[in-house]
């Protein structure tokens, strides 16, 4: 039985924390994790396995835990798949187990275990993927029984923060090596960030009792951390995991700011995502112990020896009363001695090796612990907890076990299959790994970025070596950062060097024992229920690449990404293939090192701040007058202004009708505006636009089309000549930035000889568009110095003047096909102008209209919208705008218009479309075919680009791109969408006022 010791550990016994796990109440102390507190309460069963729903307990004490995944908190604040080993206990904590139904102890899914022979590697691929169409039915059932936690309800109440940081040295890992590096760099005045994923710094020093500089190791840890905290430019971040090592020393850190508290402190985020640029990185990420692959090694109570030690020393929790230990290396000997000293019985230490250093054997003998050399555990007994283990002699070649089966009674098994340096971040940085045959592990090799790997992460496990390593890395970082040493350098920390040990015996799977043990499962990847025989099967079935084996068997996937399983899996695959591990290689290590929640990744970019909402100067007026908005680029533009009782169709019809018959008002501020100056400005426009600009008179405006070099329409708009060398270009609302970049790229990289400057003035002006047959009357009523008579102020000209006391620039241009004026005033005067127009326009029942009415109005007269009638595959010829294309000059995209594909006659061309049912508004994007009832495959000959109801025509109408459509006016085609279809007649894409006389009135 597991439980709490009376003394020891870094916990505060005076304070009691109450918590719930699966509706039962338990008690723990500050310093506990959820995992240690459950163990202290005698709870071992913490989860069910992924595929077979086998009962599972803790394997580990740290980030590598594969089994004990829990759901924390509830409702909108709930969070699934948290490792109980990384959850710090707080008062009132509520957790529940996952992947079980209805309860952890009685789990219906366990029947999967009975069918285990049916679940070999690749089972899903083999069984459920055929026929492919049936997958959607299987998937529902599979997801229910094979899976991780449930997603929380929407609406996370917590906030998350991002933070950029810059430093000379980022030290990842606060164990002895990392601390030594941080200490050295901090004392020299460098900008240092030190992070550790644990709640406290110290790493392996937290509980192993080793001394540094002749004092307790933890005293040295406290001194170093205090130094960092006192330094102006250094910071020590506990509870912070480096999750990604990206290009150019860009490292992402996930700080758990409020996770250890019942709720984050007021104003504080739950988590903070750091984005660090470091001149140098010191990777002091330590090592992770490997389990041993042996029969039923997944039973609750079978744990890593380092985890047994951690629970004992950090939280004073014994994992059992009688703990057997099996190992292939020296590190577990300390664990045996410490357990014994804490009053835990250790029936035997079972070592795979034929011999060990006499000093080690003597240490056990002195404690009365039996040492069994050249032996292996071949079977674990017990289902919900360990009841004993079977031990047999291991042959020298490691291929067989023999002799008598000796049963040892125990209630826990601590195992150490060797150590894997935590090379994930080094690998992410682009560094190559090298397999070390002696350690049986991958070590950091060559390459990567400006970083040093130190201590256990580099395969050096001796404390003195770790300290020396870290100190040297700190010095090297100072040198790289160009920080000169001031005064006398302090000595590096020192510790007693340990004596030479015996190398580990690397055996990737323990041979199967007799009887039941011969067929028992020997798990390699506990989280994904992958066994040694699954891997061997995959290799036999022909999978050679380790990346393929991973995907076929799922080994190394899931939330732990194979932290405890990868090297064992490689060893087994290599063995089956008869290759060296170094030849098989590893799967790719990718960020994140441990899972990051979407909340942390989103930071404060949520809700209204998901993306910037751009506001025009009149936005508050629109809001106050009930506008319904739609996004246009990042702008939120009024789509329509419904009156009481109106739906969208009624409001849009009213706005369209009012503008066509009297007077409408549009907020046109969002149009992109670019100021173009310089003696070559006209020549520049000639090259950018398809039509000619040199002869445009000052005071006049012209519509222009821009193409990309492939001949496809990219943007359009009206540009005015303000002076001989000065133009005012307008662009579509969503494309303003792209057009300016486009202009700059040509000026800077291709035509630097042109003397032209382009500047964005989009935001300088508020623009109100007045449109309708009464527009001139309104303008004349405002009072000012401008003459609006057709002779004094003709179509496609502009004038500066004063309107109702406001300095204004007025463009007489039209996008609605009606008599229109676009009034530009200083942005800060936008509301004043708008309110003036609303007051003065009341005489003609002025009607504010939104983008929807604007779209109807312009479509009625056949004006295109770039991005609606065009999609990057449409030329000016396709749009019927041949007249816009100059034959006399070169311009961007011109040559492409003569390419065989762009010049062919049956391209999709812009047409009008009148549905036979006059009230049927076909959906935009609907496909067009020749006629109804064709046998498949039916060729698609076009699609609908714009579609509306016109209150002026009294019927629905649309624009479409149809193959060869320009020559097919009068023919009938079939429009298809969502299983429906309807006939429609092709016509010219102009439905009202084809000669444009209304705009020129």
């Amino acid at each position: 039985m597991s439980g709490r010791l009376k003394s020891g550990g870094a916990i505060d016994r005076d304070e009691v924390l109450r918590f719930h796990f699966d509706d039962r109440e338990y008690f723990g102390h500050p310093g506990d994790t959820l995992a240690s507190a459950l163990l202290a309460n005698g709870v071992r069963l913490m989860g069910r396995s992924f595929k077979y729903h086998r009962p599972r307990g803790l394997l580990a004490a740290g980030a590598e835990e594969p089994n004990a995944l829990v759901r924390l908190r509830s409702g909108r604040a709930a969070e699934p798949n948290l490792r109980a080993t990384m959850v710090e206990l707080y008062d009132g904590l509520v957790a529940e187990s996952q992947n079980r139904w209805p309860t952890l102890r009685f789990d219906v899914g366990e029947v999967n275990s009975l069918f285990a022979p049916l679940f070999p590697a690749g089972f899903y691929y083999k069984t459920f993927m055929w026929p492919a169409s049936a997958w959607k039915h299987y998937e529902w059932a599979i997801r229910r029984f094979a899976g991780l936690g449930r997603a929380p309800e929407p609406g996370d109440p917590d906030v998350y923060e991002h933070r950029h940081a810059h430093c000379d040295v980022l030290v990842i890992g606060g164990g002895p090596a990392g601390l030594a590096a941080a200490r050295r760099a901090t004392r020299a005045g460098a900008r240092v960030i030190l992070v550790d994923e644990g709640a406290a710094f110290g790493g392996s020093l937290r509980g192993n009792g080793q001394a540094i500089d002749d004092a307790p190791g933890l005293d040295w840890v406290a001194d170093v951390v205090a130094d960092i905290e006192a330094a102006a430019d250094a910071v020590a971040l506990p509870r912070t995991t480096a999750i990604g090592y990206h290009d150019h020393n860009y490292v992402t850190l996930l700080e758990r700011v409020g996770d250890h508290l019942p709720r984050p402190e007021s104003g504080q985020p739950r988590r903070r995502l750091w984005k660090v640029r470091a001149r140098r990185v010191v990777l002091a990420t330590g090592a992770i112990e490997r389990p041993m692959v042996l029969a039923d090694n997944d039973r609750p109570g079978v744990m890593l020896a380092s985890a047994v030690q951690s629970y004992l020393n950090r939280q004073a929790v014994k994992v059992g009363e009688r703990v057997a230990i099996t190992t292939n290396n020296d590190s577990a000997y300390d664990v045996a001695v410490q357990l014994k000293a804490a009053g835990v019985a250790v029936p035997a230490l079972i070592d795979l090796r034929e011999e060990v250093a006499p000093a080690l054997a003597e240490r056990l003998a002195a404690q009365g612990i039996e040492l069994l050399l050249a032996r292996a555990v071949v079977q674990v007994h017990g289902k919900y907890g360990v009841k004993g283990v079977d031990v047999m002699r291991l042959a020298p070649d490691g291929e067989r076990v023999s002799g008598e089966v000796r049963r040892l009674d125990c209630d826990a098994l601590a195992m150490s299959g060797g150590w894997n340096p935590t090379v994930h971040l080094f690998s992410q940085s682009g560094g190559r790994l090298a397999f070390d045959e002696t350690l049986g592990a991958f070590l950091p090799g060559t390459g990567g970025q400006p970083a040093a790997v130190v201590g256990a992460a580099a395969g050096r496990f001796d404390l003195a070596a770790c300290l020396a390593d870290g100190d040297a890395a700190g010095l090297a970082a100072l040198e790289a950062a160009g920080i000169t040493r001031k005064g006398r350098m302090p000595q590096g920390p020192a510790a007693e060097a340990s004596t030479a040990g015996t190398p580990p015996r690397n055996l990737w799977q323990v041979p199967t024992g007799p009887g039941k043990a011969a067929t028992a499962k020997r798990f390699v990847d506990l989280q994904n229920d992958v066994t040694a025989s699954d891997l061997a099967l995959a290799a036999r079935e022909g999978y050679r690449s380790i990346e393929h084996v991973k995907r076929y068997t799922t080994t190394g996937m899931g939330t732990d990404q194979g932290k405890t399983s990868n090297v064992n899996a490689l060893g087994i695959v290599a063995g089956t293939l008869g290759q060296e591990i170094s030849a098989v290689g590893t799967t790719t290590f990718r960020p994140p090192y441990t899972p990051a929640t979407f909340g942390a990744i989103a930071g404060r970019h949520t809700g209204l701040n998901l993306d910037p909402i751009r506001r025009t100067p009149m936005q508050a007026w629109h809001e106050a007058h009930g506008a319904v908005f739609e996004p246009v680029g990042q702008w939120l533009r009024p789509r329509y202004y419904p009156r009481a009782g109106e739906d969208m169709a009624a409001a849009v019809n009213r706005e369209v009708k009012a503008t066509r018959t009297s007077l409408g008002l549009l907020d046109a501020t969002t149009l992109g505006k670019i100021d173009i100056q310089g003696q070559d400005a006209a020549e520049f426009l000639n090259r950018i636009y398809t039509n000619g600009w040199k002869r445009l008179g000052v005071g006049r405006c012209r519509y222009g089309l821009m193409l990309h070099e492939d001949g496809m329409v990219f943007d359009d708009g009206v540009t005015a000549r303000l002076g001989e060398n000065h133009f005012h270009m307008t662009t579509t609302s969503g494309n303003a930035g792209a057009v300016l970049s486009w202009l700059e790229s040509w000026l800077q990289t291709e035509w630097p000889e042109l003397r032209v400057y382009c500047n964005s003035v989009t935001e300088q002006s508020a623009v109100a568009g007045v449109s309708g047959p009464n527009a001139r009357l309104l303008m004349e009523s405002l009072g000012g110095d401008l003459d609006f008579s057709p002779e004094a102020f003709p179509f496609m000209t502009w004038q500066d003047g004063t309107l109702a006391g406001l300095p204004a620039r007025v463009f007489r241009v039209s996008f609605t096909g009606e008599l229109s004026y676009e009034i530009n005033v200083a942005a800060s005067l936008g509301t004043a102008l708008w309110e003036t127009l609303m007051r003065a326009g009341a005489a003609w029942d002025i009607t504010p209209f939104g983008t929807e009415a604007m779209h109807v109005l312009r479509a009625e007269v056949g004006f295109i919208i770039v991005g609606q009638e065009t999609d990057g595959t449409v030329t000016p010829i396709d749009l019927g705008l041949e007249a816009m294309v100059s034959g006399a000059k070169d311009f961007i995209g011109k040559r492409s218009l003569a390419r065989a594909d762009t010049a062919r006659g049956n391209r999709r061309q812009l047409v009008g479309l009148l549905p036979e049912d006059p009230y049927l508004v076909v959906p935009e994007g609907a496909q067009i075919v020749e006629r109804a009832g064709m046998a498949p495959p039916v060729p698609m000959i076009g699609h609908v680009t714009s579609s509306y109801f016109s209150p002026n025509l009294g019927q629905a109408f649309a624009m479409a791109l149809v193959e060869g459509g320009g020559a097919r006016h009068g023919e009938t085609v079939q429009v298809c969408w969502d299983g429906r279809s309807a006939p429609a007649k092709l016509c010219p894409p102009k439905f009202l006022d084809p000669d444009g006389s209304r705009a020129r009135a």
């Binding site: 290009d247 070099e709 970049s741 630097p752 040559r895 390419r899």
Partner: protein, 93 residues
């Protein structure tokens, strides 16, 4: 995420920049004399090397200047950054 030294503004994060594709592609002045294949070569065809790539970048959030970069497409090492009009440095690979 690259760390890019803008020739004018200094060291900045990649997200301040935009990449404009392969550099040193000169627009033909006599486009009307080119056949379709030659023109398509200029418009569409680009190198995609495993190795050193010469590309155009623009510092959108800073000085709005275009410049050229020689970058290794595997290691993402930036071998050179040079202004428009400066000679193209030669690198192996």
């Amino acid at each position: 995420m690259l760390l890019i030294t803008c020739p004018w503004c200094g060291v900045r994060e990649e997200h301040e920049f935009a990449c404009g594709g392969e550099a040193h592609i000169v627009r033909p002045l006599d486009s009307h004399t080119l056949d379709d294949a030659e023109w398509a070569d200029y418009v569409f065809m680009r190198r995609n090397p495993k190795g050193v790539q010469y590309e155009r970048w623009v510092h959108n959030d800073g000085c709005r200047r275009w410049f050229n970069m020689a970058r290794h497409t595997v290691s993402h090492e930036i071998l050179a950054i040079y202004k428009v009009g400066e000679p193209k440095p030669e690198f192996e690979g």
